[in-house]
Symmetry: C2
Subunit: 484 residues, 2 copies
């Protein structure tokens, strides 16, 4: 035991130096002794290097988002260990089985959990999952003993939809098939389950420690030997599922579209009022809305967003400008930083640039490797599917202009003292790489335009036309979804 | 209007360059048009430079901490604008007046709100507070109109303790004296209230914008002219209230205290079991515990903490190691980073080093100015008072050893391959400044040892004695507080 403790401490420091992020999940039967085992496991670790997360009853705000994002936003920074005392698995069982008995939803959620774990693994996360197993007989005896000692069996009460206590603690037989199915379904090479026979405390702790030590050791060996090798195999899988490139989308766009000032004013008023009224209906129905704006520099993203939110209630929308990630954000899987910005049910988030930076600027400028941005198409589709499945209305706008229009706008900004600050070196550098961006944009539009999260190319040489098309699209999409 | 909008945009960029953090609070009567006014106010701002916070019904987890810390952890980073759509004031009124009708608690809370605002102001935050005022007659008419349009008056329902809807929306007459008292009581030079006559929408927005523009302009002028001038006056105030230095505390400590191995084993078992049982009583009574460890390098903080938590439930305690702040943390008032680490009701947080770094390492190494660490004694006392008032049990341990013992321990660590990594350059540098630290420690012990949050100097030349004293002190303090 002592030797293992020292070794674990060393491996933790080594993993920190190599910036390997580690996720350790603990699940198991109630009264399997998980709390004590975890405590004995973490004591030899350096507390500066791990985060401990106990699954708690979700607060009402968390319930307004897909529960997986709650865990996603808690993944450890590279080099740290995230220890989850119950996790997305228990949450799935409670939400979808204990509360709802909804087998289909559970099945769908299990699939989304594998997206999550595979994306993290692809990004270099080491994932270990332990299930602490005891027999029903043993559990019954332990329940008795715990009651005798007067210690609470769980620290929080869970309630069902009607405020009644959930009785999931003692249903061993009922839960056994669910547990078995989950373990089987989600035991994958990149995030394997280890069953811990938890009758004997010392044995359990020893097995956990040696499993973790072994896995970290193996991971360190792999990282120091062949960086990046492991992940490449998924890329081909992804490619198979994605559509073949079909010429250029952008080439076919008719940029001559325009409308008169009078039409503009009328339509603007009409659609702004529509959306203003719809926002309360969205709130009532708990439907969230995600609007993504991408486009060429000076295509009019800011002006478009301004018109979209001008008449809205600031308590119901949020504009999230997305720039290059800071160091702390870079030290997580790249979708991490968007988790907290996603809207709660009934709310709208407008992204001024977005996770698509991964396949645009990061691809063109070489900030991510071909392997990384190559698998990002599938990862983004999965991420958006999680949002869609939770009831989000998703719209993605590409504001399209031609090169001449961009130049005109750059120049007019330079001569306007109020707007000069908007033009930076970056804008000119991006402009010089127009052709590379065009390739990236075309591939993005084709590979990530899905039924649930479509791309809409917006002809934006005429700003008025562009704004009305966006307003109209948003209004009509919401109306269609709400059936109003 | 247009001119003001452009000006505001410019001032926002200027404040960003100068790293001035700005807090704008909106309060007012229901139906005063706050949402629309705020939307019109934020539209001309650059969304990359502000955060918008709507006060929401607190989730059950928030209710387990002093509500002020919830807002404290949301203060803007230097250079950004934090806009609060209802704030700590509304929360105080709802929690302490609407729910409890507790005038004394409201009075005490108002005082704590001034601590908070003054600390931020001292740290360079610009604070502006707006109250949107309409008459009762006007309010009644607007209520009618809003109901006619079918728009919800507030977006969330508030419940009282018994789950009944709180009726604070329509009680204009009942709330008027409370509002008047709050405005009068908290209208301070460093965080003034501006009453906005909100009958006319355009007038209201114009007044808000010009007030904000004027205040930012003045602040920019001051910052560029005489940095730091404003804050010095508070230092003297703080000194008056604090005790005069009374010789050296550390000199009187008897470091020869020790116990036998047998005594150690017995006492350790006894007190560990006591605390293990007490933790569930603390949970039941919703009492939180804050344990702070400070001390000389190699005084045994790690080992002490290990013994304290060895038998505890990891779901109920958390060890928070505190190192030097990162850049993002430095860009906030210095107590900000501790807000989220404070324990929830019923839980225990153990700080391995703490906010006392401000008056120890930051003072000795010159990382903060004399003015900054000078006022920190009072700020820390205020911060701990907020925790204490919320029911926290606070214990602060200074682990004391002499210089010879430290040297022995450094040397033995160097020869132990398992512990060598613990010794760094910093340790030797700190050791060379022993005398400076001694002065700082003595001043800290005298100025921040309060009845509600006492310092306990622990004689730690003998590790066993040290550990037992800590365990015993914690156990007895909790027993005393719980009356068990």
């Amino acid at each position: 035991m002592k030797t293992l403790q020292v070794k674990l401490g060393e491996l933790q420091r080594k993993a920190w130096e190599l910036k390997i992020p580690i996720i350790i999940v603990f699940e198991g039967w109630h009264a399997s002794g998980m709390g004590e085992d975890i405590n004995r496991f973490i004591l030899p670790l350096d507390p500066r290097g791990f985060d401990f997360h106990t699954m708690r009853r979700p607060c009402y705000k968390e319930e307004l988002k897909p529960f997986l994002l709650h865990f996603w936003s808690r993944i450890p920074v590279r080099g740290r260990i995230g220890i989850f005392d119950r996790s997305w698995y228990s949450r799935a069982v409670i939400e979808l089985f204990a509360k709802e008995k909804n087998e289909d939803a559970l099945e769908k959620t299990l699939e989304e959990l594998t997206y999550f774990e595979r994306q993290l693994s692809d990004d270099g996360y080491l994932i270990l999952k332990f299930f602490l197993h005891i027999s029903e007989k043993e559990q019954k005896e332990r329940f008795k003993e715990i009651k005798k000692r007067g210690i609470p069996l769980i620290l929080e009460e869970y309630k069902d939809k009607n405020g009644k206590d959930l009785e999931f603690i003692e249903g061993y037989e009922e839960y056994l098939p669910v547990v078995e199915r989950i373990l089987e379904r989600t035991d994958v090479p990149y995030a394997p389950w280890t069953i811990i026979e938890a009758n004997d405390r010392n044995f359990a702790v020893l097995k956990i420690m040696s499993k973790v030590a072994g896995a970290i050791e193996k991971c360190i060996e792999k990282v120091t030997r062949t960086p990046g090798e492991q992940t490449i195999k998924y890329l081909d899988m992804a490619k198979e599922k994605l559509p073949a490139l079909d010429g250029s989308v952008l080439e076919k766009v008719d940029l001559s579209k325009s409308i008169t000032l009078e039409e503009y004013r009328e339509s603007k008023k009409l659609f702004q009022e529509k959306i203003e009224n719809l926002q309360y209906e969205l709130l009532k129905r708990k439907r969230s809305t995600v609007v993504v704006f991408e486009g060429w520099d000076a295509a009019g993203k800011g002006g478009n967003i301004h018109r979209l939110v001008e008449e809205l209630n600031p308590r119901l929308y949020r504009v999230v400008p997305v720039g290059s990630p800071n160091d702390y954000e870079k030290a997580h899987q790249y979708l991490w930083r968007f988790c907290s910005a996603t809207p709660m049910a009934g709310h709208m988030t407008i992204f001024d640039r977005s996770w698509y930076g991964r396949v645009l600027v990061e691809r063109v400028e070489g900030f991510s490797t071909e392997e990384e941005w190559g698998r990002a198409y599938r990862e983004i589709n999965e991420f958006e599917k999680i949002l869609y499945d939770s009831g989000a209305i998703i719209l993605k706008f590409w504001l399209h202009i031609d090169k001449e229009t961009q130049l005109e706008r750059f120049e007019s900004r330079l001569t306007d003292p109020e707007k000069r600050w908007k033009i930076t070196e970056d804008d000119w550098r991006n402009r010089n790489r127009w052709d590379d961006y065009e390739i990236a944009v075309n591939e993005m539009l084709q590979k990530t335009s899905t039924l649930g999260a479509p791309w809409i190319v917006v002809e934006s040489n005429d700003k008025r036309y562009s704004r009305i098309k966006v307003l109209k699209t948003v209004a009509e999409a919401i109306e269609k979804e709400l059936g109003t």
